[in-house]
């Protein structure tokens, strides 16, 4: 008897816990019942196809990150060679290779010493007529690619958080893809603009300014250590000029501590930024050495403005141009979140209007309720009193499913509802199997208690086989599926596990309670 008491307690405890986490917050929200805050937070999240919003899948162009590194290292080597007075030419070949030409044979040894540092990441090819080709090591390249994707994801996350989206999802999919879900967002274009904008800020000293690109080039190439950048092409400060600037930036966006909208001296919208200590020191040195010259403020490779340095500046600066208030606000956001390490290409995009999502929920729920009601009616009619056991087990299963999904924060999508339906079906099937077997046992003239026990224990084997087979499928689906299919697999997995518990343990406990209170020799209503 005490054994039975323990079983009843277990069943009630499990029910209470899962009900509290799963269905209760939903009911509380709807009917304004009291409930603690932390419980509400755990409430089941709705997928985009039910809530409405935007989903984007993008690929990170990791080649960019590789090219950046190659440029950086080749620049460093160039500076090193200059310091060592080796008159060689450094040429960038592609995103992972660069070549050094014209190393005088006499200084070969000196060259090799200078090149030592670069060789940690780059493999030096053998010389041919004083030319060396440097290729990035494969493991370094792989690391850079992986890092680029992680950094891109983090940057996007920061930007999305600044956008103020509630419960966004930003995850890495595979090696180079990022999935972004923004519930409740309707302005796709703004979201894409903010997420995809490179946001690279650079401050470089201007050598010369000219009206056309050609005037700044010597023999079709910019002088060593320099590059030509266009202005923004619009009205305002920089306009249609071209700038010859030092390639190495004095200060970059990484040295930023803050950026916020403000007004310039003509009361036009501008972005004020503050550098951190290190950035302030670098900026102070560069500005101090270049008083009287122009400083180009470059955003994503275009010169926004080029004010003249009138004094030494340390930490504060301002970017002005022909900005609208909205552009200024976007720009501050992008600068605050850091630059993207690589460009993004959009692979897919999906928007669901909120009313469409609400429609889907309503119809889906109503249909499920109708289906469930039909099942309940049938079970009660066919199995009479024992049908109650089956119905209780089924509802219990649903409560556990909802509770667990709410607890792990799984998102409910339409394919997830499919997993629900399958779980309900398998739940019904389990009960039917058990009850039919009990009937068979009763017909074979076994006692009621023996029939019930035999029914449950025999069918346990069957249920193990069916559930394990289904779980195998589940595992593969979860492993190889993406997004929504994964949600289906997860719902199914949880549903199957909880079904084993409810169809066998819970149902049997109810039978045992019934047996304990039953008169001796009475027929079982089944």
């Amino acid at each position: 008897m005490t054994n039975l008491r323990w079983k009843i307690l277990t069943v009630l405890a499990v029910f209470f816990i899962f009900f509290a986490v799963g269905p209760y917050p939903i009911l509380a929200a709807r009917y304004h019942l009291p409930s603690p805050g932390w419980l509400q937070e755990k409430q089941r999240k709705l997928g985009l196809d039910l809530k409405g919003g935007v989903q984007l899948v993008m690929r990170v162009q990791t080649e960019d990150a590789l090219r950046l590194e190659t440029d950086l290292e080749s620049e460093r080597l160039r500076d090193g060679l200059r310091t060592a007075n080796i008159p060689a030419n450094v040429v960038a070949l592609n995103s992972t290779q660069f070549r050094v030409d014209g190393v005088p044979p006499a200084q070969d040894a000196a060259f090799r010493t200078s090149a030592n540092e670069v060789q940690t990441n780059f493999e030096r090819g053998s010389a041919s007529n004083g030319s060396y080709t440097f290729t990035m090591r494969p493991n370094i390249a792989q690391n850079l690619r992986a890092e680029a994707v992680v950094q891109a994801r983090q940057t996007i996350e920061r930007r999305v958080n600044e956008l103020g989206v509630t419960e966004p999802t930003i995850t890495q999919q595979g090696n180079e893809q990022i999935l972004v879900q923004l519930p409740g967002v309707t302005d796709v274009e703004r979201a894409k603009q903010i997420m995809g904008s490179p946001g690279l800020l650079e401050l470089k000293i201007v050598e010369r300014v000219a009206g056309t690109k050609e005037e700044l080039l010597t023999n079709g190439q910019p002088p060593e250590g320099m590059e030509v950048l266009p202005g923004t092409g619009g009205l305002g400060d920089a306009g249609t000029m071209y700038y010859l600037v030092k390639r190495a930036a004095a200060v970059t966006g990484r040295d930023l501590r803050n950026a916020r909208p403000s007004l310039d001296e003509n009361n036009r919208p501008a972005v004020s930024f503050t550098l951190n200590t290190e950035g302030g020191r670098k900026f102070g040195k560069v500005s101090g050495e270049n008083i009287g010259r122009q400083l180009a403020i470059i955003l994503d490779g275009r010169v926004q403005s080029a004010p003249t340095l009138e004094g030494r500046i340390t930490t504060d600066g301002r970017i002005s141009g022909s900005f609208t208030p909205e552009e200024v606000s976007n720009l501050s956001l992008i600068l605050r979140s850091g630059a993207l390490p690589a460009t993004l290409t959009y692979l897919s995009e999906q928007t669901i209007g909120p009313s469409l999502g609400a429609d889907s929920i309503r119809s889906g729920v109503m249909a499920s309720v109708v289906g469930l009601a039909l099942i309940v009616v049938f079970m009660l009619v066919y199995y009479k009193a024992s049908g109650i056991n089956a119905v209780v087990a089924l509802l219990f299963n649903l409560v556990i499913l909802l509770g667990l999904m709410a607890y792990i924060g799984a998102v409910m999508t339409l394919p997830g509802i499919a997993g629900f339906v399958l779980t309900m079906g398998i739940g019904v099937d389990s009960s039917v199997l058990i009850f039919e077997r009990i009937k068979e046992e009763l017909e074979a003239q076994r006692g009621v208690r023996a029939a019930i026990n035999a029914g449950f224990s025999r069918v346990f084997l069957t249920l193990m086989d069916t559930h394990v087979a289904a779980l195998i499928s589940c595992a593969f689906l979860f492993q190889f599926g993406t997004g929504a299919i994964r949600g289906f697999a997860l719902t199914l997995f949880i549903g199957l596990a909880s079904n084993l518990f409810t169809s066998i343990f819970v149902s049997k406990t109810i039978f045992e309670v019934e047996l304990a209170n039953r008169a001796q020799g009475a027929r079982l209503s089944i």
């Binding site: 899948v57 993008m58 274009e189 894409k192 290409t345 959009y346 692979l347 897919s348 995009e349 999906q350 928007t351 669901i352 209007g353 469409l356 429609d359 889907s360 309503r362 119809s363 889906g364 109503m366 249909a367 499920s368 109708v370 289906g371 469930l372 039909l374 099942i375 049938f378 066919y382 339409l414 394919p415 509802i417 499919a418 997993g419 339906v421 399958l422 079906g425 019904v428 099937d429 039917v432 199997l433 039919e436 074979a444 003239q445 035999a454 224990s457 084997l461 069957t462 069916t466 087979a469 289904a470 195998i472 499928s473 593969f476 492993q479 190889f480 599926g481 993406t482 299919i485 289906f488």
Partner: protein, 335 residues
């Protein structure tokens, strides 16, 4: 109450007719797919889907004409259909993938469609939803989907071979493949888009079908131990008959739920519900007629050598079988 009590249908007798019927449907499906192409949803084929809600009633023809006149490339490859509740005045427009997968061109496609609509002056509209998918995403999804399905089938084959007999594994896998082919055939007949929701439905009904099949196999396995002197076909038939009540109830309730989804579930769930309905009917049919038939064919029809083959059920509590043949003996013991 019993639905079926001590029935004795000879299911195996109809196996060749059943297999024949299945082949007819499958071949018809293949021909339909070959001639009309696979109706791939946007997730798989790539392209743009736009759902617009109009304030005034707008007919599908008007929209199609608007696209024909104003959309670059005309309206040939576009699909236009009414969507959802007629009172809502919603239209679904689908445009195939054009050009590379680059992000900006995808949004531009949706804009082009809307521009074409606006030029025709059909009234005020608002975008209810849009989906734009580059072709590579679709390919990857298809590839991974097929891989996952194949691996699942292999996994089930091995598990059943281990727990039952190899022929049972083969029977289950063949039945599942049969279900997949027939479901795709029906989707082709009725021109339903193969979208992500449809795939979820297919997976669901595959799960159901396997469930059914394993229950029948379980009964066969049990009877192989109990009815040793009977022939395999007799055992198989007996097993199916014994589980007939359960099969009908389970499939019946599942079918009821699927029908409820089909009629009340709303537009978005329509493809899903249809697939479920087809899948449940096919799944039951395949479990009863196909799976067991394959097992029987595989093993030949010799008297059972079950004693040598029946695997030990490791670790499970030894179930007490209702020994019908020994009933008189038990009664004697009890008294």
């Amino acid at each position: 109450m019993h639905i079926f009590k001590n029935t004795n249908f000879d299911f195996l007798r109809w196996r060749w007719q059943a297999i024949g019927l299945s082949w007819v449907i499958i071949i018809a499906g293949v021909i339909t797919l070959a001639t009309k192409g696979i109706p791939k949803g946007v997730e798989f084929a790539g392209g743009t889907v736009v759902i617009e809600r109009y304030e005034q009633a707008v007919s599908v023809d008007q929209v199609r004409q608007a696209l024909d006149r104003n959309y670059p490339g005309g309206g040939q490859n576009t699909v236009v259909q009414a969507y959802g509740d007629p009172a809502a005045n919603m239209v679904l427009i689908r445009v195939p993938q054009v050009g590379a997968e680059a992000g900006s061109s995808l949004t531009v496609e949706a804009q082009k469609v809307e521009d074409a609509l606006d030029k025709a002056g059909l009234g005020k509209r608002s975008r209810e939803g849009a989906e734009i998918v580059g072709a590579t995403v679709g390919e990857e999804l298809t590839r991974k989907g097929i891989l996952a399905t194949v691996l699942s089938l292999v996994g089930i084959l091995f598990y059943l071979a281990f727990r039952f007999q190899f022929s049972f594994g083969v029977g289950a896998v063949v039945a599942t493949i049969h279900d997949l082919l027939i479901t795709f055939a029906f989707l082709a007949f009725f021109r339903y888009d193969i979208s992500l929701n449809v795939i979820a439905a297919i997976l669901t009904m595959t799960g159901f079908s396997t469930n059914d099949t394993i229950v029948i196999f379980d009964r066969i396995r049990e009877n192989l131990r109990g009815m040793r002197r009977d022939s395999m076909p007799h055992i198989i038939n007996a097993s199916i008959n014994q589980t007939l009540t359960r099969t009908v109830i389970t499939s019946g309730t599942a079918l009821l739920t699927a029908l409820a989804l089909f009629f009340f579930g709303g537009e978005v769930l329509h493809g899903f519900a249809f697939t479920m309905v087809v899948g449940i009917i096919t799944g039951t049919y395949s479990s009863v007629f196909i799976a067991a038939a394959i097992v029987s064919l595989w093993k030949g029809t010799a008297p059972t050598r079950a004693a040598a083959h029946a695997p030990s059920v490791a670790g499970a509590p030894a179930p007490q079988q209702p020994q019908r043949k020994q009933k008189p003996q038990r009664k004697a013991r009890a008294s």
